[in-house]
Amino acid sequence: MKITIYPEKCCGSGQCVVNAPKLFDQNDDGIIILLKADPSPDQYESARLAAGICPALAIEIHEDL
């Protein structure tokens, strides 16, 4: 799995940090920071949750095929 973020879309909701604190953080303006672009398998579920829940579509998950 690979994670891509789009900070220009981010609305600063912080939902990603709440749901996947090991993968995401926010800067002082609340904008998304990616901590880990290649999560370990035990983090896949929280990565998907963060991407699915992001109200601004600022997180994209690329699943391994």
Binding site: K9, C11, G12, S13, G14, Q15, V17, V18, N19, Q26, N27, D28, D29, G30, R48, L49, G52, I53, C54, P55, A56, L57, E63
Partner: protein, 398 residues
């Protein structure tokens, strides 16, 4: 519960698209049908009154799923089609093209449509703001000197007012309430939002109703409110809320939306998510319907897993955000005029930043951040303390 062979998702917006993705992410490989009434590719709505309206992003940035994405999910998309009736006794629904579709599981994700004022909506210069076409049509009018009348001082109305002012329009907002948005955020924050708008040149007429409308052919040129004030206008945008699209859900219990249990289940094999769903939030111990973007996808993910046999009690911490000029508002938990409010100012915060806390007695119910989203996270942790003792907080984490 057997693995379903055919899942039908009605509604191709945030909730429907998220559910489709979640079903496949769970490894389910059955037949998946998505029904969307608008036609065209699915798109996201929050930017319609925000970045898209402001011209800050192209239409393509709203895309919720590409054609390739649908192929990858092996998704059968019936666009320009709507559901017209539901038959729970034989697990089928009727579609606007006359066909009948059988389902093993059904997700109702039909969202909501803008409420209209019948007399006004016939005018050629009167708009709602719910769909992409609405947004693009309104945006065309946002030019210097245009007189924009916004009916309804809710989030959509005030977000539009802010962008119209930034575009050089003359903007007037009328509303029934004494303070804009007070019914949603309470008086303190409502007044602060009002002041922000007034500093930017928006004129409010509060505590009033439409009384009279002047027409020239199919154009409304002026409205008069019941306080006697006359407002000349070039364009009217009616932003008085939305009503869920649940008229087709025959045989289900409907209140503010399709009534569901804590598992987002409305009837045997029938689930609902997003604006159309009123479900039992076990944390708060009451039925809720939430018309916000995060809830659409969060609830869709929970419902998708439950359709495949999980028993997740869906109990989220409500969240929404709003953009008003340079101010970004984020709200967590429950806020509103029924709570007492205190303000946290912090030296470490930048100018025009603060946090509002909403209390019921001594219990913290909600947190609203004003340009302080990162800081707000420090305050939201106790928000679930109010929840009745249940395993609800495990909800999606489980």
């Amino acid at each position: 519960m057997n693995s379903p062979e055919h899942i039908v998702v009605v509604g191709a917006s945030a909730a429907g698209i998220t559910a489709a993705r979640a079903l496949r992410a769970q490894g389910w490989g059955g037949r998946l049908t998505l029904i969307g009434k608008e036609g065209g590719m699915p798109y996201d709505r929050p930017p319609l009154s925000k970045r898209l309206m402001a011209g800050e992003c192209p239409v393509e940035a709203l895309n919720l799923m590409s054609e390739d994405g649908m192929k990858a999910l092996n998704l059968h998309y019936l666009d320009g089609t709507s559901a017209t009736a539901l038959h729970t006794h034989d697990n089928s629904l009727q579609l606007s093209d006359g066909t009948t579709l059988h389902y093993d599981r059904l997700l109702i994700a039909t969202g909501a449509d803008a409420r209209v004022i019948p007399n006004l909506s016939q005018a050629a210069n009167c708009y709602s703001l719910r769909n992409l076409n609405d947004a693009l049509a309104i945006r065309e009018h946002l030019t210097v000197g245009k007189r924009i009348l916004v009916v309804g001082a809710g989030f959509i109305g005030t977000e539009l007012a802010a962008i119209a002012r930034a575009s050089g329009c003359q903007v007037t907002v009328i509303d029934k309430s004494k303070t804009p948005l007070a019914a949603r955020v309470g008086d303190v924050v409502g007044k602060r939002i009002e002041k922000l708008h007034e500093a930017n040149g928006v004129i409010f007429h509060n505590d009033c109703e439409l009384a009279e409308v002047k027409w020239r052919d199919r154009i409304i040129t002026e409205v008069r409110v019941d306080t006697g004030v006359a407002i000349a206008c070039d364009v009217i945008v009616v932003a008085i809320g939305a009503a869920p699209n649940v008229g087709w859900c025959s045989g289900l219990t409907i209140r503010s939306g399709v009534v569901c249990n804590q598992f987002c289940e409305a009837a045997s094999n029938v689930y609902a998510a997003g604006d159309a769903a009123e479900w039992f939030h076990k944390g708060y111990g009451e039925y809720m319907r939430i018309e916000h973007r995060t809830n659409a996808s969060e609830q869709a993910m929970a419902a998708a897993r439950n359709m495949l046999g999980s028993r997740i009690e869906y109990a989220p911490l409500p969240f929404f955000w709003s953009d008003q000029y340079q101010v970004q508002i984020h709200s967590y938990g429950r806020i509103g005029p029924q709570y007492t409010v205190d303000i946290v100012e912090d030296d470490h915060l930048k100018d025009d930043s603060c946090i509002f806390r909403y209390y019921q007695g001594n219990t913290l119910m909600g947190v609203l951040s004003w340009n302080a989203s990162r800081k707000a996270r420090e305050y939201i942790k106790p928000l679930k303390d109010v929840w009745t003792k249940s395993d609800a907080s495990a909800a999606l984490a489980g």
